[in-house]
């Protein structure tokens, strides 16, 4: 398969990269290339110049400071999965990373690239949405931080201007009292695009009552949706304190009415992009599974 011609530039510094993005006509940043190379081959994207930002130090770090995590745009999904604090404290992002494509892709694909690509089926976007993430965009004229909810404006559309580089993603590290989860449904277990993603984060007081809940649905609309009615239905309830004794399997009835109701409301929030009514049912099922796992501490399929 031939690849259309383009120029390739590798800046030595961030300043040089931003200058190239501002001045080179038809410039486009490249890091892992796992989406970009597919789009370029397919003729969907025709950059005149690729600016290789994958090795810029400013985009390569995962920094934890003052209970906040900041992830560089060129950090790979594999690097996320190897980060101990993400594994232990940010289960929703860890689980999303585990479902991301496959091992070979995870070794190249970057967090920034996945967000800039803004595919409706992005796995990182719903997880980062429930973490209340913000992204920074830099150009030679300055840096701006915007909430991820505003950054994503439509299918494959973001607020990034052509001269801007997605620098970092940051979010508060969930408190120890919080719980979260992520489930994906695709055509197979691995190496697949999401048909439905559900991400959940919730925080609880010392009596186990839910103080705050966030539920995001991926691949059911041009951009990930928040299931606000479902979130509101959980707040004030103590669904994790009334844990079922075993994880709920597909087709089984959930005994907890709060979980059942929140899952039903999440399903109603889905507006399937391809008119596939089944996605509402899948959202319901995945939400129910995540909330049950949050209550029991056992993921479906992990029980002995």
């Amino acid at each position: 398969m031939t690849v259309p011609a383009f120029n390739y530039l590798k800046p030595d510094s961030l300043a040089e990269a931003l200058d190239m993005l501002a001045t080179e006509p038809g410039a486009y940043p490249i890091a892992g290339g796992t989406n970009l190379m597919v789009d370029v081959r397919a003729g969907k994207l025709s950059p005149e110049t690729m600016i290789d930002v994958g090795d810029l130090d400013e985009l390569r770090g995962i920094v934890v400071k003052d209970s906040q995590m900041t992830i560089g745009g060129a950090v790979t999904i594999a690097e996320l999965l190897r980060h101990e604090i993400i594994r232990q404290r940010v289960p929703v992002l860890f689980a999303a990373g585990k479902t991301f494509a496959n091992t070979l892709i995870r070794n190249r694909a970057t967090v920034g690239g996945n967000l800039v690509n803004a595919a409706p089926c992005s796995d990182t976007a719903p997880a980062l949405l429930v973490l209340d993430a913000e992204v920074s965009l830099s150009s030679s004229s300055g840096t701006r931080w915007i909430p991820l909810t505003e950054f994503l404006v439509g299918a494959f559309q973001t607020q990034r201007r052509a001269d801007e580089l997605l620098m970092e993603v940051r979010f508060p590290i969930p408190p120890a009292s919080s719980r979260g989860g992520f489930e994906k449904m695709g055509l197979r277990k691995i190496s697949c695009m999401a048909k439905v993603d559900v991400a959940v984060m919730a925080d609880f007081d010392e009596r186990g009552a839910c103080k705050d809940a966030r539920i995001a649905l991926g691949a059911v609309a041009p951009i990930p949706l928040r299931a606000e009615k479902a979130e509101a239905s959980l707040v004030g309830t103590a669904f994790i304190a009334r844990a079922p004794e075993k994880p709920v399997r597909c087709g089984e009835q959930v005994q907890d009415k709060t979980i059942e109701e929140a899952a039903r409301l999440a399903g109603e929030a889905a507006s399937p992009r391809s008119g596939s009514e089944y996605k509402r049912q899948v959202v319901y099922g995945l939400t129910r599974r995540i909330l049950t796992a949050m209550a029991t501490g056992i993921r479906d399929g992990e029980a002995s």
């Binding site: 120029n7 190379m37 290789d52 494509a101 070979l104």
Partner: protein
């Protein structure tokens, strides 16, 4: 060497004679083109040759030869993990990346490590067996090496065989824009 700016690492390696790097799908789905890029298993169809400038690249043929195969390659043959063989170089590369990081993987970890490599002939059972076999053989070799530290004669023999097994043909691909 000089390459075009849009040259893809997969094609550059094949043009250089490393035809063990297979061109399967060119969309990052099949893993037949997997190579180790600075120790990480990646799809070479997704990497610009220029992005690999100065990197260490190891392909399947860099791990071992027909005369002196790598333990992983031998294990694939012994476990019958090969039918047409087209996916095998990529499978071997993903296995090498896994065992370098995790010498004693569980079956789930093996399946996860090979999740980017598709086989359309044999199914994956014997491939997973091959990785387990390679892991146990490498573990046996390393525990023998431990024993050999107190046995200088045997130590010399094992050290030399180990050098053969681990000496990768590391190719540098560079470019001028």
């Amino acid at each position: 060497m000089a390459v075009e700016p849009q040259a893809v690492l997969l094609h550059t390696l094949r043009d250089l004679g490393y035809t063990d790097v297979k061109n399967g799908c060119e969309i990052g789905e099949c893993g037949a083109c997997a190579v180790l890029l600075d120790g990480e298993a990646v799809n070479s169809c997704m990497v610009l040759a220029m992005q690999a400038d100065g990197a260490d690249i190891v392909t399947n043929s860099g791990l071992g030869t027909m005369d002196k195969p790598h333990v992983i390659q031998e294990s694939f043959a012994d476990a019958g993990a090969i039918q047409c063989g087209f996916c095998t170089p990529g499978m071997v590369i993903s296995t090498k990346a896994l065992l370098d990081r995790n010498p004693d993987p569980s079956e789930a970890e093996i399946r996860d490590a090979l999740s980017g490599n598709l086989c359309r002939c044999t199914g994956y059972g014997q491939i997973v067996d091959a990785v387990k076999l390679a892991a146990s053989r490498l573990a046996g070799a390393s525990s023998q090496r431990e024993d050999a530290r107190s046995n200088s004669k045997r130590g010399r023999e094992l050290d030399s065989s180990n050098r053969v097994l681990e000496s990768g043909d590391q190719t540098k691909v560079g470019g001028e824009s």
